[in-house]
Symmetry: C2
C-alpha cells in the first residue's frame, strides 16, 4: 500500500503555545526514515466539530492520518469518539486494555476513578496499541477503502515509544521498499558553505540522496538510499560515505554518532584517556554535555566552574598577574585554566572556556561573543579564539552553546592527536 | 475587526522532522496573550500547489492567516508569489527593502548575488515589515473582504522579533479589548493535584480565567483577564493572585519570574547572598542553569563537578570513610559535599547533588532515580532525598533536570530562611 500521510495533532495547549509540537517532528522523522510520504501537519484544539472537519480535509488529500492527543480519561478527550464516528464504528470495551489500566493503578497503589476505564473503550475492529508508558492505549483503524487512522497518545514519552515500536513496524510491513540513511556530522563549516561545495553532486544524485541540515552551530548531512533490502541500501551508500570522509577529513566528526559530546566521550574511551573541564562563561555546560553521555564517568570525573576570578586563582592556579594584565577573558587565562584543571584533576586532557556571553560586559576591545577555548595535554596545548557575535542579537544561550561545542570539538581532536 | 487566525508554516524541513516547529508555538503564545482566537496550525512543504490549496482551506475557516517561511532568495522560496496570486496582486520592487538588502551585504562585506533582490519584491499594496535580523522582509496583505495574510520569515531569530515588534502591535490596534495575563509558578505539586484543588474555582470563574500547564516537572498557572484597559485587567486579577499566594504559600516560587534559576538568583541578589555548587549526577546542570541568568556572577562564582569520588575527596573534603561506608549516593555524602563546597568557595550557601541518573548503575537498595540534594549554610543545613523514578523509562536527562530543579528550589528556600 502506498501511503500519503498527514499528522493531525489534537490539543488546545498546542494552539495556546504552551507546548511545542515535538510529536509532529518525531513522527515526521520516523516516516521520512521509512520512506512514507508526508505532505501536511495540522493542529486543532480539543473540539470535536473542528476535529471532524480537519479529518475531512485530511482524508480528502491523504490516505493515512496519524493523530496525537485526546485519548485520555477526561471529558475533553474525544479523539477516539470522533474518529470512530467518522469511520462509522462503535466504541467497545477492550478487555486487555481494561486489565492494563486497572493493573497500572494497582501497581502504583493509586485509587482509580471510573473515568479511567473510558481509555479502554476502543473503536470496533481496530488494532490496539498497548501503552507501556502510561494508561491510554493507541489504535490503528482501517476501512475498506484503504484509509488508515493511527491514534497515538499526546505525551511525548508515551507517543514516542508507541510510534517507534508499534506503528513504524506496522507501516514497514506494508511497504515494498526499505529506506536507510546515515547521518554525517560536520563541525566547523556552515550549511551554505557545505551546500555550495556539494551542490553539483547533490543535484546529480538520485539514489542515494544527500540533504544538509543546519542545527545549533553544526551541520548534519543525511545520506539516504532506497532499495529492496537493507543490504542493498547499505551497498549504495558505502562509496558515498567513503568519498565524503576523503573530501572532508577535518570537518566530519562522526557518522551516526549523535552529537559532539558522544563523539568526544567515545574517542576518549577508545584511547583510554580522561578529561577535566574548567569553565567560566559556559558555567558548567561543557561538563553537563559530557555527562549526558551514559558511561561518561569512565573518562570524566572532574570539573570546575570558575565563574569568579577568585575561583580561577584558588582552584586552578591562574596567576593574579595574568588576570590583572590580560584579563579573565584572554588567551593566557584560558591556557592557565586548562593547565590548572589538568594538574588539579590528574586527567590526561584539560579543557577550558572563558569568554563574554553577554548580554552585558562587552567592550570595543573585548566584545560580547569573544571566547577563548584552551586545551592542555602532555602532547598538545592550544588556545582557540572565537568571535561568536554575528552582528545581531544571537543571544547569551547560543553563544554559550557554540562555545561549548568548540570545547567538545577541541577535546576530541586533541585526544585523536595522541 | 474580530480575527480568527490560522498559522500556516511553509517548509519541507518541518515535514521531514529536521526542525521542530517552534515558530507556531511562539506565534500562538503571542496571539493568546492579546486575545486573538486561533483554531488551526498547518504545515506544508515548499510546494506552491499544496500551499495554494492550504490557503484555500485556511481562508475557508479563518480570516487571518499568518505564514512563516518561503521568503528567502532561492528558487523554492515561493510564499509571497503564491499568496500574492491568491489575493490577485502583482509583486513589485519595494525600494526601501532593496536598499536594506544591499546594505546588509555591504555591512558584512559579503558579495550579493542577484537572487537576493527577489526578497525586495513585495505584493502590491502590502504593509512591508522590515527585517532587523536578516535579509527577507515580511509583509501584511489585506483584501476588501477583510481577509489578512501576514507573511513572516522562517528562521526563528528573524520571525520572533518581527512578530512581537511589528505584527502584535498591528493586531492590537485593531482590537477593542486588551488581554493581560500573569504566570504563577509552582514547584512541588503536580498538575493534576493542583487542578483538583482549584477545579471548583476554575469552573466558576469567567474573567479572569485560570489555566494550569505542566512543564518539565513544574506547573505554571496562567491567570488571564480581558478588559477595556490594561489597568482594569490588572484590577480584575489582583484579588485572584492574592488569594493564590495565601492558599499556596509554600508551593508558589514566583509570579512572572520565568523559571527556578531566575527566582533563585533574584532571591540571592535581594538578600545579598552568594551560592556555590557541588554536583555529581547533574554534571554541571545546576551551575549551567544558574549562569543562564544574566548578571548571575553577582551571586555565583564557584562550582565543582565532582563526578569521580577522587574529586569529592580532593576538592570538597568528603571523607573516604563516608564514601566507603555510605556510598557516593547517600545523605552523608550530599551533606559533606554541600559543606565542602561552601568552605572551599567562601559562599554563604553550598548546594550539592549526588544521585543515580541511570540508565545503568542502579540496585534494589539504591535504584536509578535516587538523588540526594544537600544544602549547607550558617543558618540552615538539610538533605532532601528524592526518588525520581516513575516506574517507567523517564530517562537520564529528565532525572537530571528534575534533580537540578530541586537543587534550585532548595537554594532559594534556604536563602529566604536567612
Amino acid at each position: 500500500m502506498k501511503y500519503k500521510a498527514e499528522i493531525l495533532c489534537v490539543g488546545t495547549e498546542i494552539l495556546l503555545g504552551n507546548i511545542v509540537n515535538t510529536n509532529s517532528a518525531e513522527i515526521s522523522r520516523g516516516l521520512a526514515s521509512i520512506g512514507v510520504e508526508l505532505y501536511h501537519h495540522t493542529v486543532v484544539g480539543d473540539n470535536p466539530q473542528r476535529l471532524k472537519e480537519a479529518l475531512e480535509v485530511a482524508f480528502s488529500r491523504n490516505n493515512l492520518v496519524i493523530t496525537t492527543g485526546g485519548l485520555g480519561p477526561t471529558y475533553d478527550d474525544l479523539t477516539k469518539e470522533t474518529i470512530a464516528a467518522f469511520f462509522g464504528r462503535r466504541l467497545v470495551t477492550d478487555p486487555d486494555s481494561e486489565q492494563r489500566v486497572r493493573a497500572y493503578f494497582a501497581r502504583w497503589n493509586r485509587p482509580m476513578t471510573e473515568n479511567n476505564l473510558k481509555q479502554a473503550m476502543m473503536p470496533e475492529g481496530c488494532t490496539v496499541l498497548p501503552n507501556d508508558n502510561g494508561t491510554a492505549p493507541g489504535c490503528i483503524l482501517e476501512d475498506a477503502a484503504g484509509r488508515v487512522a493511527v491514534m497515538l497518545p499526546g505525551p511525548p514519552r508515551e507517543m514516542g515509544p508507541m510510534f517507534r515500536q508499534q506503528v513504524m513496524p506496522w507501516l514497514q510491513q506494508r511497504s515494498d521498499q526499505v529506506l536507510r540513511s546515515h547521518n554525517v556530522h560536520f563541525f566547523g563549516i556552515g550549511e551554505s558553505a557545505l551546500e555550495a561545495q556539494l551542490r553539483d553532486r547533490m543535484e546529480a544524485m538520485e539514489n542515494p540522496t544527500l540533504a544538509p541540515y543546519a542545527k545549533d552551530g553544526e551541520v548534519l548531512l543525511r545520506v539516504t538510499a532506497a532499495a529492496k533490502t537493507e543490504a542493498e541500501a547499505e551497498a549504495l551508500m558505502a562509496p558515498v560515505l567513503r568519498k565524503l570522509r576523503e573530501t572532508f577529513p577535518d570537518l566530519i566528526y562522526g557518522v551516526d554518532v549523535g552529537d559532539l559530546q558522544t563523539a568526544a566521550v567515545q574517542t576518549l574511551k577508545r584511547l583510554h584517556l580522561t578529561a577535566a573541564t574548567a569553565e567560566s562563561c559556559t558555567g558548567g555546560l561543557v561538563s553537563k554535555r559530557i555527562t549526558e553521555v551514559p558511561g561518561s564517568s569512565e573518562v570524566f570525573g572532574f570539573g570546575v566552574v570558575s565563574y569568579a576570578n577568585q575561583a580561577k586563582m584558588k582552584l586552578l592556579g591562574v596567576q593574579a598577574a595574568t588576570l590583572e594584565t590580560c584579563g579573565a577573558v584572554s588567551q593566557q587565562t584560558a591556557a592557565e585554566m586548562a593547565a590548572g584543571v589538568r594538574a588539579l584533576s590528574g586527567a590526561d586532557i584539560g579543557i577550558s572556556v572563558t569568554g563574554l556571553a553577554g548580554p552585558d560586559g562587552g567592550s570595543t576591545e573585548k566584545p560580547v561573543g569573544l571566547v577563548y577555548i584552551g586545551v592542555d595535554s602532555p602532547w598538545h596545548s592550544e588556545v582557540r579564539r572565537l568571535n561568536l557575535d554575528r552582528g545581531y542579537a544571537i543571544g547569551r544561550e547560543y553563544i554559550r552553546w557554540v562555545a561549548a561545542s568548540h570545547a567538545l570539538d577541541l577535546l576530541r581532536r586533541t585526544a585523536e592527536m595522541r
